[in-house]
Amino acid sequence: MIHAGLNAYVLLSALLFAIGFFGVLLRKNTLVIFMCLELMLVASTLALVAFSRFNGTLDGNVFVFFILTIAAAEVAVGLAIIVALFRSRRTVQVDELNALKH
């Protein structure tokens, strides 16, 4: 079993965050953007868990509990919005969701 160091965890976390971030910036489907957002959240929790593990304290874990709780609520609301959006507009492509401008 390879014993991974803290740097490896942080690097993975940063990678995941970057994937999520660029997904949010570049993808056009609201559902995918939403998933990317969740990915960013999870990436940050990964870093927190790693910090907690290597510092030997529970601070990071406590953070993670809160983040997961908030994320669960957010997902429930966000998905509901997307479903409602699709029902009314028959699309979830951000390019076509431009009612604020027009």
Binding site: V24, L25, K28, V94, D95, L97, N98, A99, L100, K101
Partner: protein, 615 residues
């Protein structure tokens, strides 16, 4: 203790409010409400003046930092006397209006206007500080506007109302500056506190006098009063003869503690000039109301001159006593004038009503037999104004003449000559209106009005006869009446002879010169003089020229500058700048979610740079 006074003040306001809110279509009920209000005002004013105490009280109304505007009541002998005059004359006019305005289409508006006028006038009478006087002063101007404008479908009436209002504004501007200056210099505008101590200044009383010039129609702001005769005749009697125009005199008497000799000299000459000017104009008028209007102007000039003649020092048991004789003489003449001028105006109203709204005296004639009651009461009014011995005007005019004789002989000469002219034009109008044969269809069918028209005439005629005997007034007005100057010894004889000569000269020449005919005798014999007097010294024309050629052009220039700098540069320029910024900001909002994300990213980067101290 002052609750009754406040009640008197608020009662007409209540009446006006009730009429305006609920009785606009019920003219008959409105008339009764308003008249009953006037009756209770008169009754309460009498009770309060005779049995109520004197005092003052105030409450803070508005506090702005260190500046406090208070509302208060100052009820002294002067206020009590004025309140009684307003109450009695007001009641007579209300009753007269019941008959005179019986068939008018807008009775509710008319009687509501009368009520609001009573409210404003009583407010001036009771006010204890200059700011409060100013508030009610403007309200009086407003009610005057409403009532002159009563027959607003006539262009001349609406023009006259506007003229009255705007001319008064000119005077009020000076008045307001005077009040502010007075506050600035003395730290108070309360009349009692000013009486205790104040700064001596010529400008303050003169600026305050501007208000009186406007309201009491003195030269050079006299132009509005003759035109105001476009209003219904009872209004002319109440507002433009007996009470409102007297408010200027009353206000002067209120502030007489502020007076200094220089200011008094200006006031004296203004009054004397107005008295003479208006008497000259009155001689050539053919409209019965216009004659009375100029006569009012002339008598107001008398009062102003009397006030300006100032105090009188008398020797009493070896001690020199200075009394404010100007106040006494002015208020005395105001009192008697209110009675006989209201009588004359209501008499003319009765004549006009009887002659089916004919106002030209040369188309009347022969009314002596057709309207005997009007004739006799009018005769008493004429006798009172020309100063027939024993009647009201005789005493008050003598007091003024004596004051002038003692203080300034030149003014005495002017006033005595004015008295000649007064006797002349009043006898002229009396003779032409009531004697001879009827000279028109409407005069031939003239008839006496009903009880509401004649009863006020009788009441006022009685007052015009007895109003001059100071002894008959209850002792409660001593604060005013003890100031009336009285001639003694040889002065007394001189004044008596002067007034008799003046009377005989004026009335006699009128009786010789003017025969009841359809044309003006002066116009036939001396057309040049007639045209000069009829021109009224071109005051209206000069003002018209000034407005057209100077004020209007100046206003155009200001408008031009305003368009460029205010409206153009500041307002439109400012709006344009903001609009330009908005245009730029609008470009950021493209309506695409991922674009906003880039903005968000940029914002985060900037925030991060700021947090790390790079920016």
């Amino acid at each position: 203790m002052l609750q009754p006074a406040i009640l008197i003040l608020l009662l007409p306001l209540l009446s006006a409010a009730v009429i305006a809110l609920f009785l606009r279509r019920q003219g008959g009920i409105a008339a009764i409400v308003s008249t009953l209000t006037a009756a209770s005002i008169a009754a309460m004013a009498l009770i309060l003046a005779l049995h109520g105490g004197r005092g003052e009280d105030q409450v803070d109304w508005l506090t702005l930092g260190g500046f406090t505007l208070s509302l208060g009541v100052k009820f002294d002998d002067l206020a009590a006397l004025m309140l009684v005059i307003v109450g009695i004359v007001g009641l007579c006019v209300h009753v007269f209006s019941l008959g005179y305005m019986h068939d008018d289409g807008a009775k509710a508006r008319y009687f509501g206007g009368l009520s609001i006028f009573m409210f404003s006038m009583i407010g001036i009478v009771l006010a204890d500080n200059l700011f409060m006087i100013f508030i009610f002063w403007e309200l009086v101007g407003f009610s005057s506007y409403v009532l002159i404008n009563h027959w607003h479908e006539k262009t001349s009436a609406s023009d006259a109302a506007k003229k009255a209002f705007i001319t008064n504004r000119v005077g009020d501007f000076g008045f307001l500056i005077g009040i502010i200056w007075c506050y600035w210099a003395n730290g108070t505008v309360n009349l009692t506190q000013l009486g205790e101590h104040h700064v001596f200044s010529t400008a303050i009383p003169l600026l305050l006098f501007c208000g009186a010039v406007g309201k009491s129609a003195q030269l050079p702001l006299q132009v509005w009063l003759p035109d105001a005769m476009e209003g219904p005749t009872p209004v002319s009697a109440l507002i433009h003869a007996a009470t409102m125009v007297a408010a200027g005199i009353y206000m002067l008497c209120r502030i007489h503690v502020l007076m200094v000799p220089d200011a008094l000299t200006v006031i004296m000459w203004t009054g004397a000039a107005t008295a003479l000017y208006a008497a000259c104009c009155a001689i050539v008028q053919s409209d019965i109301k216009k004659v009375l209007a100029y006569s009012t102007l002339s008598q107001l000039g008398y009062m102003v001159a009397a006030f300006g003649l100032g105090s009188l020092a008398t020797e009493e048991n070896g001690i020199k006593v200075v009394i404010a004789a100007g106040v006494g003489a002015a208020m005395f003449h105001l009192t008697t004038h209110a009675f006989f001028k209201a009588l004359l105006f209501l008499g003319s109203g009765s004549v006009i009503h009887g002659c089916h709204h004919e106002q030209n005296i040369f188309k009347m004639g022969g009314l002596r037999t057709k309207m005997p009651l009007t004739f006799w009461t009018f005769t008493l009014g004429v006798a009172a104004i020309i100063g027939l011995p024993g009647l009201a005007g005789f005493f008050s005019k003598d007091a003024i003449l004596y004051l002038a004789f003692a203080n300034n002989k030149a003014v005495f000469a002017v006033l005595a000559f004015t008295a000649v002219l007064t006797a002349l034009y009043m006898t002229r109008v009396w003779r032409i209106t009531f004697f001879g044969a009827a000279r028109s269809e409407s005069a031939a069918h003239a008839h006496e009005g009903g009880l509401t028209l004649t009863l006020p005439l009788i009441v006022l005629a009685v007052l015009a006869v007895i109003g001059g005997y100071v002894g008959i007034y209850p002792k409660v007005f001593t604060g005013v009446f003890e100031l009336i100057p009285e001639a003694h010894g040889s002065d007394h004889t001189t004044i008596l002879i002067t007034s008799l000569v003046v009377l005989i000269l004026g009335a006699g020449s009128a009786l010789l010169f003017y025969k009841p005919s359809a044309t003006d005798a002066l116009e036939e014999r001396s057309p040049g003089l007639f045209r000069l007097l009829a021109s009224k010294l071109w005051f209206d024309e000069i003002y018209q020229w000034y407005i057209d050629k100077v004020q209007q052009r100046f206003a155009l220039l200001l408008n031009f500058l305003e368009q460029i700098f205010l409206a153009g540069f500041i307002v439109r320029g400012g709006a344009g700048l903001v609009g330009l910024f908005g245009l730029g900001a609008r470009a950021l909002h493209v309506g695409k979610l991922n674009v906003y994300l880039y903005w968000f990213l940029a914002g985060v980067v900037v925030l991060w740079l700021f947090a790390t101290g790079v920016l």
